[in-house]
Amino acid sequence: MECVVQGIIETQHVEALQILLQGLCGVPKDRVRVHEFCLKSGPNLGVVPSEVRLLCDLAQPTPTWTVRHAGGAMRGAGAEQLSVLVRSVVESKVSNNALRFFYAVGYKLDHELLKIGFAFRFQRVVPITVTVTSANRMPRLHAIDDAVPLTPGIQLVEITAPAAGDNYNEVAAAVSSFCEYLVPLLHLSKPGVSTGIVPTAAAAASSLLSNSGGKAI
């Protein structure tokens, strides 16, 4: 399971966000360049189509593949009170034959996406990952070099933390409290809930950028 929130930020403020995150997390940022394949199951695999995502991490010297299945979100009164989305997730490293394997099993490529950005992975009560990426689409199949940003002016910020069935409340609280630190720059909410941008983000960003002159981390 994981707790996840998403938000958007204008591309011009991404650098300020990076500085803020660096100050909060204390770890260096990781580059993110992920080619994401979203595979949908064919009719031979059941009445209800299922979706599986294959992530190819291109930032490493040798591309590494991960298979990921995100289940439905937790529902109920308790879930609605949480400010984060809790959903079941299965993730695993796989070899590069995974794509072929899924095609052979009967999955079809539904869409693909290229995510370019950076991420911070740190520990604050729970391991938290903050990813800031721009989603790029490919005009032709698998044409990574021709990828263009879907929304040039806006990038996606995603904060996830792994959770278990018995501690998701604490994890949700930890993620929420961390999100409080990012309020000057962006609003975060459950995926699917639209938030808009923070109008005062420009001021916060400028102060962060000017502040960075003294920091040489």
């Binding site: 958007i8 979203c38 031979n44 693909e112 032709r140 879907l150 309020v183 995926p191 109008p199």
Partner: protein
């Protein structure tokens, strides 16, 4: 360090230098677990960062003061809030540190000689003591004569009143903030209005982005545009291969990854091969992505090396649709063989024919083949085996981790020359099977076969069991089935071999050989069938 001093003053006897003293260069190291928990490195980094930030701010203020220009208070307050937030975090972390350790001085030297007595003393300075007494009197004025518990109650009541007053003050302040728009406090609910048009644009972009990332809206390429590009990115080059022949060929010559070229070429070639009457095909799962065909059902199936069968209908007949598909694809692939490949095939044909015709019945061995079968398949294709009815046993190369070097594949190929010549192409890939191959070529006899079978058995027991793991590729399933059939269908003349083979079989596949001639079974292994079922299928649809 200024900040350290400030923290020390605020925290009492736990200054931040204590952090650095605890995080040694000392003789003793901290317990690594504790060290990890305390995140001392990160605290140190943050403390340094904070120090730099504060010094930067001080410099700015200095500059302002000297230049006499007005300070931008908004920015300055923003910076200050950042700094205070960071300071707060560091202080929190230091509290954790202080709880774990007790600091005491070991040596007295010139540095701490003057300070130590003060720090260690529990009695306050006289002035501080007097101050303390005065405050205490003020606090307990009027109730000092009462018993202790009443004093406690009264003090508690006072504390509650003060707390209530603070809360009221906070609400008043926040209300004033709202009304006057002083929303610099984090979490304030004041939202300065954006330009409506701009806000709408941003909203639209946001919806687009969220829908794309979460649901895939706007990223789907319509079917007719979904053609694999001629040059795949590097991480996909060895994962995907092209569905159609021409592109396959072009790609094969270029990329020679360990599996890719074999797959694409083998697939093509295999399409030209014929499983006995196409009957084996029926047993595989008919998958829509099946782009490879085995047999031209019109040609009689090939007899296996040691088990000539006269009954062509041992296996279930595949659906005519599948057969038609396969024939079509076979022909396509053959057409598309490059000249180079044909030459190569011819060369190999010559070589194999030199080795002579192996004993027909005696060599139904499955030679373990590791690696690529590209050459063999080209060979097969070059011989235009469309006209032959050789059962091509195709053993699927298993994906990923399952296929390791110890896995071996058998490629035996029987070719039925309509003129009556028997040619046996035994293709072996891999060093492990070279001995077998040479042995088989030299003088196949039952003993040889037995020994070879035994060795093969030991080698390839596992791989042979792993058929069709790659899924619903018809191509893959067929070879495995064909293979299994061959195994089971050993002629009675080689009982040993049969036994060995059978032991290695997965299940009840039966041999198929309808050719009256004694022919050796041909098995072609597909080490890798890289085939994207999506696209060929779509292409088929377009056809």
């Amino acid at each position: 360090m200024n900040v350290g001093g400030a923290v020390a003053a605020a925290q009492g006897p736990v200054p931040s230098p204590a952090v650095e003293a605890v995080a040694p260069p000392h003789v003793e190291r901290l317990n690594p677990v504790v060290e990890q928990q305390l995140h001392l490195e990160s605290v140190k980094i943050r403390a340094l960062a904070l120090y730099k930030a504060v010094s930067h701010i001080l410099e700015d203020l200095d500059a302002f003061a000297r230049s006499n220009s007005t300070i931008k208070w908004r920015d300055a307050l923003g910076q200050f809030s950042m700094v205070s937030m960071q300071l707060f975090n560091i202080v929190e972390d230091i509290k954790n540190v202080s709880k774990a350790f007790v600091i005491f001085p070991r040596n007295i030297n010139a540095e701490n000689a003057t300070v130590l007595p003060v720090m260690l003393s529990s009695k306050l300075f006289p002035e501080m003591e007097a101050e303390d007494i005065a405050k205490r009197e003020q606090l307990l004025y009027g109730i000092s004569g009462h018993p202790v518990h009443i004093q406690i109650e009264k003090l508690k009541a006072r504390i509650d009143m003060i707390g209530a007053a603070c809360e009221a003050a906070e609400t008043v302040i926040s209300d004033c903030r709202k009304t006057y728009g002083l929303g610099s406090h984090p979490g304030s609910t004041v939202v300065p209005t954006l330009d409506k048009v701009q806000a709408a644009k941003i909203q639209e972009q946001e919806n687009l982005l969220r829908a794309a990332v979460n649901l895939g809206e706007g990223l789907r390429i319509p079917f007719d545009q979904r053609q694999l590009p001629t040059s795949l990115p590097s991480h996909l080059a060895d994962v995907l291969s092209f569905g159609d022949g021409a592109q396959n060929l072009a790609d094969n010559s270029g990329s020679c990854e360990k599996n890719t070229p074999a797959f694409s070429s083998t697939r093509e070639v295999l399409q030209m091969l014929q499983t006995p009457g196409g009957q084996l095909i029926a047993r595989s799962v008919p998958s829509p992505s099946n782009a490879t065909a085995f047999d031209n059902p019109s040609t009689p199936p090939m007899a296996y090396a040691n088990s000539p069968r006269s009954d062509p209908n041992i296996m279930n007949t595949p659906s005519p649709q599948q057969q038609a598909q396969r024939q079509q694809q076979q022909r396509q692939k053959i057409m598309q063989l490059t000249h180079q490949q044909q030459l190569l095939l011819q060369q190999q044909l010559r070589q194999s024919s030199i080795t002579g015709v192996l004993g027909q019945r005696s060599i139904s061995q499955l030679h373990d083949i590791t690696g690529q079968t590209q050459q063999k398949l080209q060979q097969i294709a070059g011989q235009h085996q469309m006209s032959y009815s050789h059962p091509m046993l195709q053993q699927q190369f298993q994906n990923g981790q399952l296929q390791t070097s110890h896995m071996s594949y058998n490629i035996l190929q029987n070719q039925i020359n309509q003129g009556g010549q028997h040619r046996n192409n035994i293709n072996q890939l891999g060093s492990s099977s070279n001995a077998l191959f040479s042995a088989a070529q030299a003088s196949p006899n039952s003993q040889m076969i037995a020994s070879m079978s035994a060795s093969m058995q030991s080698q390839s027991r596992l791989p042979r069991m792993q058929f069709g793991l790659t899924g619903g590729h018809l191509q893959r399933n067929h070879p495995s089935q064909v293979f299994n059939d061959q195994m089971f269908g050993m002629s009675p003349s080689n009982p040993v071999n049969m036994l060995a083979m059978q032991q290695q079989q997965q299940g009840g596949f039966r041999n198929m050989s309808t050719n009256a001639h004694d022919l050796q079974p041909g098995m072609v292994n597909l080490p890798n069938t890289i085939q994207n079922p999506n696209f060929p299928q779509q292409q088929q649809n377009q056809q």
